[in-house]
Symmetry: none
Subunit: 191 residues, 4 copies
DNA sequence: GATGAATGAGGGTTCATTCAT
DNA sequence: TATGAATGAACCCTCATTCAT
């Protein structure tokens, strides 16, 4: 029973991730999610209180996964390598999700709880990067962390909105981002 | 009549900018825009074909204005100064719009024309920065341009979602962004 | 415009009276009311905030009308005649409404405002009868008023639930009620 | 097993009586009844065919009980005393049920079988009172019976909708009702 | 041009009932 | 017998858009 529950819950989350991610919150119909999950519309409401709650659950699952991967990615390596790895994770993560971008762009408005969660997520991400920078004794670690993340956010746009983007470019972009951050725009790549 | 037309059109755009910017596309009602513009609901449709078209007109007006300001901002000064000015413009521009952030975050989904326009806008912005970088013989100008813009995008989040942000911090942030870009995270500020 | 407004509002109230009265609140669909009123579903909401509000408006219109008729009915006649007239009004009023009984029996539950209004209505009705009794120096006027109204309420049930009830019986019933009240169950009718 | 069956059936009826009586038919959820009865939702359907059938069973149990108590109440006493006893039973019965009034006011609409049963119940009640009156040679016994019951119905409203009603008032009301019926509104109480 | 009353498609949600276990 | 997860029909209400005035 519990296994089934888990299965169905996961199926709904997966379907919701797909459709919310593709069409955004407002253009997604619960009936469509149910259909894709292979269940009846009403069943969705056995697992999630409302459309908003479902959206939040999807978001939460995705963000928590990212943070977990992040903390694994930097273990046991030097600062420069850490920056490369974090840049790589960020870009690859969103590259994998490039057809689900609406999850980040089309969220339900006026949902304070979601807004709060997103703020918290960004904070935790930033804090993590800040710590890495502090350990490497970078000045102004917090602002630098934000700038670093920002660069990556922007660089990801290239494939988020570009269907023809090739994975090879991804590697170049990762290198550039890390190197730019480490040495500025005129630096000679370290590795 | 044409002058009047202009007046009313502007009034609608202004109201739409306010409400779309505050609440996002989906949570905005045409009737509310009409009310704030001081006209009847039906009148909106004499000037704009649909809610989507109105949103696009608002976006277009705002983005074009930005690009215009951008090209003015870098005239007649050296590279480093140009980077500082662009960082300043970007951040100040969004600082002024910090209570209208929904214009950029909550746009109508599934509108290919808008998506296309946004892509085009980002392209033109990037191209402009790329040119500046190329004139200064920075390598990989295009990717660097994207990274630069990305840093700024992220840094702007601080005040977009933070009501207590003080204008003074803005200046520090601008300096940091430009310096990071110019010399990397360990650079000594140039100016 | 105002005339039209009035017309449509009345049309909705009339249709709502018919259907709420026939089927009760919960079994009535707004779409049905709209259809009977000859308008679109959405139009109902231009005139009434919600299904509950519409029901309350219908109820209010009906109850106020009753109280108005009541105060007219007793003007300028002696006590015994007053009692006969009030009994007559009560029974005839509900006889006219015998196919709309659901208006009184199937109201929306848990609507405190409606409950409050109904309480108020009953109070006003009782108060009116109480005054008549007090002017005739009947003891315990208030309780007697309630008992009088109660008799009538019960007597009305005969035709409310009985399709074959004939109007002629109505007159007998009115006489009996008034005489019973005036002289008890063994009294010889006064008129 | 039969005993158990009985137990569970009773438990459901008790819970249903509570909730239907408190909230009315339409606002009551089967799941709530099941919960209060300490069983699973599906189990309700092993004992009762549908929500409507359950409601009817509750109503039937309550009404039959009343009629039984009624016939006991008048045994072996004189007419005047009989009227007092019946008034007392009616009012006390509903006083005990004053927090379950919805059982009588919010019944499922459009259920012909229930309507039929209610008609039958009222008939049986009326017939019983009629017989008592006939034995006492009251004229027009049937209509008088209805009027008597009606008085009581109305008088009961006082506590049905009034949380602060005190039991002491009940006795006064019973006296008044019986005396009014026996001697009219100007009568001197007999006992 | 301007109005705003009218339209009606559309979707989130509830809950009585079923049925596999 | 008992369960409770699953179903899906049903309905209220919103709001972009139209059009007669």
């Amino acid at each position: 029973m519990s296994a089934l529950h888990g299965d169905k819950q996961e199926a709904i989350l997966d379907a919701a991730y797909n459709i919310f991610g593709t069409k955004g919150f407002y253009e997604t119909k619960i009936s469509e999610i149910a259909e894709q999950a292979g269940i009846a519309k009403g069943t969705v409401y056995l697992y999630f209180e409302s459309k908003e709650h479902l959206f939040k659950a999807v978001t939460r699952r995705d963000c928590e996964q990212f943070l977990e991967r992040l903390s694994h990615s930097v273990q046991g390596c030097a600062f420069e390598e850490q920056m490369h790895r974090m840049a790589g994770l960020h870009l690859r993560y969103h590259y994998e999700r490039r057809y689900h971008s609406k999850l980040f762009f089309m969220l339900p408005n006026n949902d304070p709880e979601l807004m709060e969660y997103m703020r918290g997520f960004i904070q935790r991400y930033t804090d993590f990067v800040t710590q890495v920078l502090e350990q490497a004794r970078v000045n102004n670690a917090s602002l630098h962390a934000k700038a670093f993340i920002g660069m990556l956010e922007r660089l990801k746009m290239d494939f988020m909105f570009n269907q023809e983007y090739e994975e090879a470019e991804l590697l170049t972009t990762v290198e550039l981002a890390a190197n730019l951050f480490l040495g500025g725009c005129r630096a000679v790549p370290i590795r």
